[in-house]
Subunit: 424 residues, 2 copies
């Protein structure tokens, strides 16, 4: 496959050759039988990796807003999750997955329930997923006991051991919903199958107080002390952490997902804008995530990059923090790295995960610098095409892998049905 | 004109009848000769009023980013403004104006130079503008002396006294660039012609220190003491203000424009997120603005609403602050009120300024609540149609008033030409 006449992030025009799932050359030799995508007037960017989501929670998008966390959980999330079936997870993931394609996102790290349904949807749509069954010490929509959840996670790990798009993972919910014993069981399973562990960590001030009360130490300290931390841990949020804790994260090679919009919107992190400058200083790999749309409320990684950049600047009274190039790399290359992918750059030998942007729009004029445009002016709707693993999932704004309108209509019906069950 | 089968913000389906420039009835009697716009599957919302912009600064969008204010002014803005001609302002406003239409913005409050060029563009495109020539105590791209600037502003006020779309205004730049004498001359002119006064006020910590050093009082105190403040003042930013100053603003009926993205991005306001809860408590009319795109970098009022909501929540550790409905009203009805327009609601007797949103998109599913969707999930690119003063400017994503592609191409050339002059 040949993407012809694209504009690269460095503003040079190029022909990009893709074979199977890889970028094999930029401006190399032509083959006569190439399938040609004409990208004249379009910018090609590496696609995004959204490293913290709960895909199926699209079902709860925007029902009620502006509540404190406790009310939001008690009034919306829990009544709906009480009735959540594997069918709902499938259709919620359909809405979410279509939005991912339209937002230029090639892959996600996701934690929720019925992850085999999420896997089914991502494979149908051609997207990558590092998927972890949520584990905690009380019943979930999927299982009655922690042991049962662990079994489900293990079965999933076996089923998807050699999948091209799906990477099994495991997701202990947090230090306040999982006992140290549970966390160590998870770790054992993760070590056995080489799984990435996804966990919510130090998201709220309440969490820090609660863990200190229970164990006499802060959340990161606790995980360090029980031997839980290593380079296979992907920690979401990490807002309320001390410098010593950041050093602990760095020492063990833990990867951190920054979710600025969710943190600000829930305000449960308080003034806690993640200490990005220190993470950078101590060498923590920082990635970017939207969190579930129930606390965002979309999968727009352009918006997430912009909010990260301006929130960090504002918080430290310094506009030179979180520069456009840095933030763009966090959303693309760093995300890929955290998911174990050689991707996130338009270069020979990298996976062919890339998006096309239509530049003929007033808000993208004049065209001075692609990366500052991407971080500060673009939004998800500017994505015109998406190629993942060498396969075009959308071109000229048309979804190629499913009948989008039909899928959305069905999915919305399922969402309303769940709403009726929960609230009538 | 009849907009048929639209979905209203309250989720009811309706036929909206427009005569001349007004909404005359919702679901009223039909006329046979109506021009019908079929809005099936589309949401109709009141349009936005972006109450603080510098439209022509699209010319400088994204050239260099992540600089401290001083570097940004000295390295980018001033070298370019040194060569800024009225032709540049025209073409910069063309880019900006087309972006306004695509972003659902019916009217702006704008302060810059060569405002007759901005007026020409807005009239060509069918948009509303409350336009103020910038006044300060040093030469501008347009005039050598303050007196000359005042004369230009007066001539503009006379020329546009009875225009349907353009409202003359006057724009003393700030307390640190205008002496009290200049401010009072502006006030005199404003009183004579009934002009709205646009001014940057208490934007940065530096400004507060500087004014205190010069006059022994804070910026709002200074303006209060010299008799400058009244209900014709529209103050942009108002970030670094005390409670006493907010009471002064409220007492005099001063309107305030909140520009959260610009404030955060420049970080020159430091941790100064505008004290919105106190503004609300003391009864100040708060509106929303993007500022110029050189410090944003777009005119996306959806994004601006979202950032306002999440930044206010985050800053006060309280997710119930700046609720979706409140923020939406600020961006629509409050903006209209500040500009002296009976608009910002889809109701009989209101001006026919409204936008259509295509709902058939994954990030807008499921469709539970239009207003939370608008504030937290939508973006400017979801705007499918815009009607201003009863005239459709865009329908089905097609700009109806000019040849967009041709205009953008010309405008971009002019931008590059200015760049060459400034930096070669």
């Amino acid at each position: 496959m040949l993407i012809k006449n694209a504009v690269l992030p460095n503003k040079k025009r190029a022909d990009i050759y893709i074979e199977e799932k890889e970028i094999v050359s930029i401006n190399g030799e032509k083959n006569k039988d190439d399938w040609v995508i004409d990208a004249r007037g379009k910018l090609v960017l590496p696609s995004f990796y959204n490293t913290h989501t709960h895909l199926a929670m699209t079902l709860m998008r925007g029902i009620v807003e502006d509540l404190v966390l406790k009310d939001w959980l008690e009034k919306i999330v829990w009544p709906m999750e009480k009735h959540l079936s594997r069918e709902h997870v499938y259709w919620g993931s359909i809405i979410g997955g279509l939005e991912l394609i339209r937002s230029g996102i090639a892959g996600i790290a996701d934690m929720y329930f019925f992850m085999d349904e999420v896997a089914k949807v991502l494979k149908l749509l051609g997207l990558r997923g590092t998927l972890g069954t949520t584990i905690f010490d009380f019943p979930s929509p999927e299982a009655e006991s922690t042991d049962e959840m662990l079994k489900i996670a293990e079965a999933f790990a076996k089923d998807y051991q050699n999948d091209e798009l799906i990477t099994p993972s495991i997701a202990p919910h947090s230090t306040y919903t999982c006992s140290p014993e549970t966390l160590l069981k998870v770790k054992e399973l993760a070590d056995k199958y080489g799984l990435l562990i996804q966990i919510h960590l130090a998201e709220t001030r309440w969490e820090v107080y609660e863990i200190q009360k229970r164990y006499g130490k802060r959340p990161v300290e606790l995980l360090g002390d029980i031997g839980f931390l290593d380079e296979n841990v992907l920690a979401a949020h990490a807002v309320w952490v001390t410098k010593a804790e950041i050093r602990t994260l760095a020492k063990h090679g833990v990867k951190v997902v920054h979710n600025p919009i969710s943190n600000m919107k829930l305000a449960s992190g308080g003034a806690g804008v993640m200490p990005y400058p220190e993470m950078k200083e101590y060498g923590v790999l920082v990635t970017l995530g939207t969190d579930g749309v129930a606390s965002n409320n979309n999968f727009d990684m352009f918006e997430e990059m912009k909010v990260m950049a301006i929130a960090q600047k504002n918080h430290r009274w310094d506009p030179t923090i979180a520069k456009a190039e840095e933030v763009f790399k966090i959303a693309t290359e760093n995300g890929a790295k955290a998911l174990g992918l050689k991707a996130g750059r338009i270069e020979e030998g990298y996976l062919a995960d890339l998006m096309l942007i239509d530049l003929n729009k007033p808000h993208l004029k004049p065209f001075y610098d692609p990366i500052t445009l991407a971080v500060y002016s673009m939004r998800a709707s500017d994505v015109d095409g998406l190629i993942v693993n060498g396969r075009p999932l959308m071109l000229n704004k048309e979804i190629l892998v499913v009948d989008e309108a039909e899928m959305l209509e069905k999915a919305e019906k399922k969402a309303f049905e769940l709403y009726e069950k929960a609230f009538s």
